[in-house]
Structure formats: structure tokens, C-alpha cells
Subunit: 160 residues, 2 copies
Amino acid sequence: MHFFEDIDIGARRELGAFTFTAEDIKRFAREFDPQRFHLDEEEGRKSLFGGLAASGWHVAAVCMKLLVADGKRVREEAIARGEEVAVWGPSPGFRDLRWIRPVLAGDSISFGSEIETKRTSEKRPEWGIVQARNTGTNQRGELVLSFMGAKFAERRRKET
Amino acid sequence: MHFFEDIDIGARRELGAFTFTAEDIKRFAREFDPQRFHLDEEEGRKSLFGGLAASGWHVAAVCMKLLVADGKRVREEAIARGEEVAVWGPSPGFRDLRWIRPVLAGDSISFGSEIETKRTSEKRPEWGIVQARNTGTNQRGELVLSFMGAKFAERRRKET
């Protein structure tokens, strides 16, 4: 985890890929989004999706999982180099989540994250707020998911 | 499920309440959002949240689950009254998801959904697009979650 001051606009991280199996899709849907086109192949084929489709919330949650894993990797690499590591706080929300294309059973989605904006917080001077555009792209290079996430990042304490 | 033409701007549905137990919070976090403040009480207390806090994606997924259950209830009631029921399509995304306050272990969140806008779709004349403001409110009446969801709703076929 970088300190707020060390985060560069435009910096991009590849988060890795995830293949959505029919079993994964149905398991998530049964618990959180039990709509017919997320639960049954034939119903998926008859829907606007054209096949068994992952819940959009499932696709976003997998992106979140890979974002967290990437953050841990960055943190461990920094610790291994003997650097001081920053604390990252929770997220206040996100903007413009778009499910651009369906994610069908068997699709492999590659996720990435690119820093778009950073600003200091007036209410919490020890934290900055960083916004990143998070995306998912399928095996044909088509964008399927895009959202702008925000995150609190610790600021470096002034040396006294 | 109502047809696009029968949906009223301002119509509100109470979706029911869900209590987030520590066990629920940790189970979701282990799978999708394994950050320290979602996994461990003590880490939660030390964080900006001030306690073991549900992943925001968990709160949103529970809202989705209750939206789907409510849709099924509306549909079954309409079928029981002998009415023709519309098909609802998938969601193209949502806007302005905000996690306004933390959801801590033991909090009971009441969810609601209110229709804000509706418009026809040029690309798909057989479908309209309906936007609803979905919210979660805790047991102290404080808003914790808000997002604007969009959904395709079937249009009535013209009588010939």
C-alpha cells in the first residue's frame, strides 16, 4: 500500500483473470440474485443475455476480491523491500458502475485498475481520497464491467 | 412484475430488513473482500469504521437479494389476481452507489426502493428502462446505502 503522496495518476495495475463457471454463477445467484437468467442455462438462452449469465454483482465482487489481493501483494512487496507501508482505509462508495456486456458461463474476465484522480480530505486531514477506474475485459478483448472506485489512503506524516 | 406502462414515478416498495451477524460479515469477506476490518472485530475497532463492518458489496448484494424477492412477490400477487405479468430484463448498471455509514455486526438494515425515472429505449422498442433509488437504513433511522439502479421492463404490446 502506497502513501497518498506516492500514488501516481495514470498508474495501472493488472489484477489477474477469473473464469466464471456455470457452477460459480448459479451458487452466487442462489444466495444473492436468484433471477432466472442467472440460475438456469435454458432461461439464460431465452433472455436478453443469450446464455447463462453471471449476476453483475458477482462480477463486481470478483473484481473487489482481486483488488484486495493485489493490494496485499503490493504491501508484501513493499515490506520485503524494507519500505514503510501506508494504511488504506475503507471506501466511501463508487460511481458509474456499468455492466457493459454479459459475462456468460465459461467467460474469462481480466481485471485492471487505473488511478484517475486524487485529492486531500478536508474533514480528515490524515487521509487522502484516491479514485481508480476498475475494469473487466473478456477473452475477446471486450469491456464487460467498469466502475470508478474511491478509497481513503493514508498521508505521510510531516517530519518534525 | 408490472409492465413499463403501469409503473408510477414515486411508487415505493419496502423490501424488508436484514440483520448482519458477525458470522455473515466474515463469511462474505473471506470470499470477496478479505480486508482486515471485515474479518476481525479488533481490527474493525481500530479502523475508521469503529467495529467489525460488513463489506459494502455485501450490503449491496443483500439489497439485490431483497429486490429480487420483492419482484417475485409482486409477480405472484399479480398472477393470483389473474393479471397478465410482464417480463423484466436484466440491469444495464447503476449510478451513484454510496456507502454512507458503516454497517456493523448486529445492525439491522431496512431496504426500500422508489421509482425515480422511466423512459423508452430506442434501441429496443419492446423494452422500457426504469430507474429506482434503492436505499438501506439502519435501526437508528440513518441512511447507510443508496444507489440508483436501472432495469429493463417489458412494454405492453399494442392491441391490433
